[in-house]
Homo-oligomer: 373 residues x 4
């Protein structure tokens, strides 16, 4: 908890996790582990060699980056950096993995495989996992399986969620610049208004999900930011939208990509504007190996009891842990971190996000059991 | 011209026209007029009594304030104050009114009504005209008519523009904050998306003009800025719109105000959001008295010839001279001040704005003829 | 009044005015006039020769067709035909012109020009005026001027409205069929929904007026009908929109035509649909001759008094009388027919539309004075 | 097959299944069963008592009503009644259940529970299942489980489909009348346009699914019909929308109902209109009990082989068998009835709908095995 609180106070954005990495590396070294820093710029990798290696290594992963969110005021362990916040729980992920490392160092005699502790940078849209894989984290250490956890405030603390198969969404992002022609707000006919075009495009995008996707297939199109203009009475030249596309199925993913582009292009044209549409291909879907997921379920039951292990529906959020699971089998699971009685109900990425810290030892123990199992 | 150049060099912002007022008062006193300073803080009023007053007084008005604009470099008579510029021509307005005062002092014997020379502060959004009226400039001097001029670079020097009825627009601004509930872009159901609501409101606002206003009445609703969100995959808490409402008729003005508020409120509610709508009431429309406008047209023809007096379409910009015309009949006219051959084409409020100074004696003569007519 | 009530009870649509024409022809023959029927199918023309013709003939025109509107119930002289109603006042137009014919027969000795009484079919979108001109009504009778009246409920009975120049709008109509692909309402992804596309197009059309037309130029885009689908749970193949475009200026007219087509095409495409857009070019603007309008104004003052003759703003409705004014000088004027005290306030084309019948002798007298003047 | 063909020839609509019920009752009595007719007007219930009842009764259900569809011509066993057709396969459902009754009478010694053969009226929108429950079909016979089958032409004959959990959608319908104020299309300000309001509401409804429902929960909002206006240039008084809401989860169902109402109300108000929103509550979702579904899967494998039992995605269509599953556990399964080689591909409810009759003994055997299992 102290580790998590320390990290919570000093949030750093993707690939800028310098202080964070230094802190993590220091803790790992204190445990006697061989630590490599600067992996994929700010990543940290530590290896705990098995007493007697009988099989390929297991990789346990935490992500390190924070978000550009302004935390609500008045928290004892709140972010000390304006406009930055660990609003997704990565501070807790690091604390849990450090905890697991401490536990496993104790249990090293029982280990029959090397454990790779992987602290990756830039999960929030930066593809840090892919960068770590390219930097050799799987290959160099003979990794045969990979596991990751996510603290999850929608479920109550004391529960663990894991499911076989599709678990988290494929994610693409787009940036669309609607080009009109600026002018005086009182003379709209002498300008071409990009705000009206962009606004109607946002509305039309809702129909891509509501009309073009099979209702039984999950799909999300969110416009997360829309910016245009500097004054009430000046029509600006452009409006800029940024959005995210989520899906669990490649056909749906294609429908969303094509639909977003089609809507932006044609709605812009309907209003006499032109649109530059750029698609940033994002993370694929997290698809858990069925056997690995079953093993996680078994260990989870050892930690919290059979009845508190839940098979959740797929989650529409994206996770670059997907890249690890494209290379080796493994699973990604969720540690319940909400607590309605204590008012811990805010969704991830919100300014009021929080976790019940009693979730941290649960996650640490689960990781340790997975490595030993 | 010398007066205008002096004033051009020493621009002062609204209600800070101390040096300007002192200069004007000195010139007026030099003409032998009774001068009152400090009216509505920095306003200056001088009265030329009629030889034999046969009717109520006529008020001639100039505005004194400059703009927070950095003038282009290299001008002989450029602004000496960084970031301040007479970019709307008020320096010329003062020079013209001083010129008219000089002419009328000469012609005093022919005057059959008192002339009130009104130099008002703060026209650029400060409502100085209203402040002068509250300070008694109309009541105290028995003003029965009011006239004002604006140098106007879109028309060539040597022309004068005047029209009966609606001449310059009423202008209101609004700021609307659509409150949703922030959250993860992949979990829209756990958030309330203010961007979709704001976007649809922008679209719906088009119907206020297109459906709720009499098609023969000019009306404009422009959303000039729309800002929401910080990232592609985070649903923000709020979206903020700023816009301007223009009209020439009080009924239409009311329709726009009520329509904008109604649309923002209900479209927000349709999407589960709430809207804070703030209206910044601006200047009313400048509506010229038909008879007064006809008299100005006649005098203008005496000054520049019948063919160089133009009836322009209504101008969508706003002017606080409107307040005078709400109290007494009168008219507001434009003195052509552009000269394409000499490169004087920059729009008002631009850093490169300039006037052809040969417009100044035209305006001075017109004002004098109006007072005498 | 009896004539108007008779006609009100038996409304007939454009080019189907068989009973109406027979009634009118009978009344004209009873006055001793030479009557031609079947002009342009259902039109009626009668000529009153001048005692001594000193100049070209004057044409006085009434229109005869009713509308597909279901009149409100309970009226003493209500429409006897379900779904048909004289909801625009053409019944009164005919009564006024018959009245003028009766008056002029009495005053024939004073006439110095032939009077052509022209009862045209199909004013409501059928272009009956153009058909009458093609049938020779101007050429065959040596018509040098043309005048027409419209009963006008927005103004109180006892007033007359006439203005020089642009008086009524140019009108075009469009029909747009949005083609999607029908299917089960529960399986939207297997269909292409034309209703969502058509709906968004209706919304986007508002921006054509609100953003693309100069605010000081009147313009209207109305979608008057939208039809799609047969059941709540079946996605239809198509949605059909019909609308009208009104303007007073050829540039604006072009903006509306191009804008409507652009919006329908691109909004359809944005949703994966295709649009068939058909423009029905309608009536041009009614532009009164300045001298003719001034003469009407003078005669109107003789009828109702100087202060009750009003110069109205241009009216956004369309009138095929425009075709007459493209061929010969003349004017189109309005006879106030509203009466708030008697509850006669419903707009033209509404089911509750009515006129104050005391307007009828005013119109008859004005037409007679015009012919004699 | 003979039974099915007989029933196919004499289709009767919901709650009018008099001949149908008589035929079914006769067949059941011929098997020696105790038959009750006139249950919930036209329903038929027969009971086969167990040799030795060891547990609660099992109910097997068929539906009896036909559709107002005109069957394609030229079929050997086609409908003899114009405009009526068994276009959903209920004729086959009855035949399968009669077949199961014949099989179970033979196997009565092996039965350890009573079997209730339930032939219900009015499945196609009449809620016959609910009426049967109210009439006591579950309570009076001590029913502990309920099963039903649907012939399903989208899957090939020889296959069986069954899934645990949500299987068929909850369905509600709405009708919304947007009230504006009619008027002339050229004078929008004198009217209140219901078409613009209705159109924007259709667009806004897309956001109910796209923004307010958990992306992993299936949901559909379809506006299947939208009708307004009679002419291009008349603004109508009202616009009428009809739509369907589909979901598999009661929370989502509530979100759709509330969302549709909220959107219609507030979008109407945003445009100055008022909306009458009427919700027609439809059938709840068919949610199979997990254990019951597993048993059906096992028996299905006994009938057609393991590889021909398919777990289908949830079906967005609705079924009033849902009411039985709200009261007792059980399952609803599909019997593949299509045959592309024989041209049997038309969708349910189509005029060309047909089944491959070799599906009938498969269904009969499955029902019998379920009862025995």
């Amino acid at each position: 908890m102290a580790w998590r609180r320390h990290l919570h106070g000093r949030p750093e954005l993707g690939f800028e996790e310098h202080e964070t990495a230094a802190f993590v590396a220091e803790r790992l070294r204190a445990l006697g582990l061989a630590v490599t820093t600067g992996v994929a710029r700010t990543g940290v990798v530590a290896v705990l060699p098995a007493a007697k290696a009988a099989r390929g290594a297991v990789l346990l992963r935490a992500d390190m980056d924070a978000l550009p969110v302004q935390e609500v005021e008045g928290r004892a362990y709140g972010s000390e950096i304006p406009g930055r916040m660990h609003a997704c729980g990565h501070d807790g992920h690091m604390a849990m993995l450090l905890g697991a490392a401490a536990l496993l160092v104790e249990e090293r005699e029982r280990l029959d495989r090397d454990v790779v502790f992987c602290f990756q940078p830039g999960e929030e849209g930066f593809g840090g996992a892919e960068a770590m894989i390219k930097a050799g984290v799987l290959r160099d250490h003979g990794v045969a399986e990979a596991y990751g956890l996510h603290l999850w405030s929608p479920y109550p603390v004391g529960t663990i969620q894991v499911r076989p198969g599709p678990t988290m969404a494929a994610q693409d992002e787009f940036e669309a610049t609607v080009h009109g022609k600026g002018g005086h707000g009182a003379l709209p006919h002498a300008a071409i208004d990009p705000i009206v075009a962009a606004a109607q495009a946002v509305v039309a995008l809702q129909a891509v999900v509501a009309r073009h996707v099979d209702p039984v297939e999950p799909a999300v199109v969110t416009v997360g930011s829309l910016h245009a203009g500097t004054a009430a009475n000046i029509i600006p030249d452009t409006a800029v939208l940024r959005g995210t596309l989520r899906s669990f199925d490649e056909t749906v993913r294609k429908t969303l990509r094509e639909g977003a582009r089609r809507v932006l292009d044609h709605i812009s044209a309907a209003h006499g504007c032109r649109c530059d549409f750029v698609l940033h291909e994002g993370y694929p879907a997290v698809v858990n190996d069925r056997d690995a997921a079953e093993r996680v379920r078994k260990h989870a039951a050892e930690v919290v009891g059979e009845t508190r292990v839940i098979e959740p529906p797929p989650v529409a959020a994206a996770e670059d842990f997907a890249y690890f699971l494209q290379k080796v089998p493994g699973a990604f699971a969720f540690i319940g971190a909400g607590n309605a009685e204590r008012g811990i109900t805010a969704p991830h990425h919100a300014a009021a996000f929080d976790i019940d810290e009693t979730a941290l030892p649960i996650g640490a123990e689960l990781l340790a059991r997975i490595a030993l199992g």
